[in-house]
Subunit: 214 residues, 2 copies
DNA sequence: ACTTAAAAATGACCTCAGTCACTATTTATA
DNA sequence: TATAAATAGTGACTGAGGTCATTTTTAAGT
């Protein structure tokens, strides 16, 4: 039996949600709150497994509340339920650790499925929201292909430059002389058609050199 | 009526999918292919609205096929259907423009819903896949809060440094003297507790200075 | 065995970056 | 009004960054 906290400022909507959720025998709406502040104090006093949260609320909004809840009760699952197909909100909420994002236009059955999914470690995204959010996220994860061949040493040095290290620090880390590091950098700059170490650092970050490829 | 192409190497699975899909009156499985190559040649000869694609196939896999299809027929919707809850595949497929990603463990009804969602511009992600993929994507989109106050000028200069410009170039762009640019950079480096322009460039990229906030 | 390329190193050389001190104007706020 | 902060500038100094020529060793490929 999951103890659910409803956070929603409109009483009628709250009542409706309660009726829908309690059609499922696993769900028991044990508490209700009208805003983020109330939600926090309920969490401080009672054991809650799941929070169903509206975004736009007076006092403290859903994003803020999500942050605070996830900070203090990381195990509590949070599903965001909102009227607006707003990718900005969705992204913020997910960053704060929300376990799902549904629109109020969804069917009741979807809502219950989403609760189950959340409780089982899933993350339910409303299809339309996902379609808006994913392109933006994917754009950040793109690493342009490296068009030039860099040797292992050169990659190691490029990585260091991308971490903001000086030639001296790089020399020490790789057990080389400063002159050698300089020479390598000259070679790298020629190969990559870049001008100086700053541009090389930018190159390293954009190509995620030194990280696990996504 | 949506004309659907099934791409799946196992005949039995293909048959099963066809039966499931055609329970929906809007869906007509007009063509079938055993691998990516066959899929491409079918698309070249017939009008297709929707492709349901397996990932692991002989000859040409689903990712590759997705790329080629989206390149040549960008309007065709593609839903990936796979046995494996593999976030690596999911990410690649989505990058190539796939309109959804479902596991074969999903219920038949979900599959049909996903087709509808795709055709209406949605993007259906299997909950478990989403739970794996989203944290990785969000990590890239994180911009740590800027802990120091930078003035407008300082932000403008930081942005330029993050684009790999020299002091001279910055001076010209902002109609300042080189000396002034240097002075600003000294101030910025003090405020941000950084050492040189390379570290500042890294700072600028990590904080996405000069971009629209996500 | 011969060739090619990566890797390592040295020294000379020059430029740009960054610091510092000091000045001056504008703007906002206590 | 006085004070602080942002903005803009100059000149002098130091050092790190980057280039180039040249050498040596090692490893891989034909």
């Amino acid at each position: 039996m999951w103890r659910v906290l409803l956070v929603e400022d409109q009483t009628i909507v709250r009542q409706g949600l309660k009726v829908i959720l309690e059609q499922d025998p696993n769900i028991k709406v044990t508490h209700e709150a009208e805003n983020g502040n109330q939600a926090i104090s309920i969490l401080e006093q009672h054991i809650i497994d799941f929070v169903l949260m509206d975004i736009r609320m007076p006092e403290m909004n859903g994003i803020e509340a999500t942050r605070l809840i996830k900070r203090n009760w990381p195990k509590v699952k949070i599903l965001i339920l909102t009227t607006f197909n707003d990718d900005e909100y969705a992204l913020q909420a997910l960053k704060e650790g929300a376990n799902g994002f549904l629109l109020k236009t969804s069917e009741p059955k979807k809502l219950i499925e989403a609760v189950h999914s959340c409780m089982n470690g899933g993350l339910t995204l409303h299809d339309e929201v996902a379609a808006k959010v994913m392109p933006r996220l994917l754009q950040y994860s793109e690493h342009p292909a490296i068009s030039v061949e860099l040797s292992q040493r050169e990659l190691a040095i490029t990585k260091c430059v991308g971490q903001g290290k000086t030639n001296k620090e790089i020399a020490e880390e790789l057990h080389l002389s400063i002159g050698t590091v300089k020479n390598h950098i000259t070679t790298i700059l020629h190969k990559t058609d870049l001008r100086d170490r700053t541009q090389l650092a930018i190159f390293a970050l954009k190509h995620h050199i030194g990280e696990q490829p996504l």
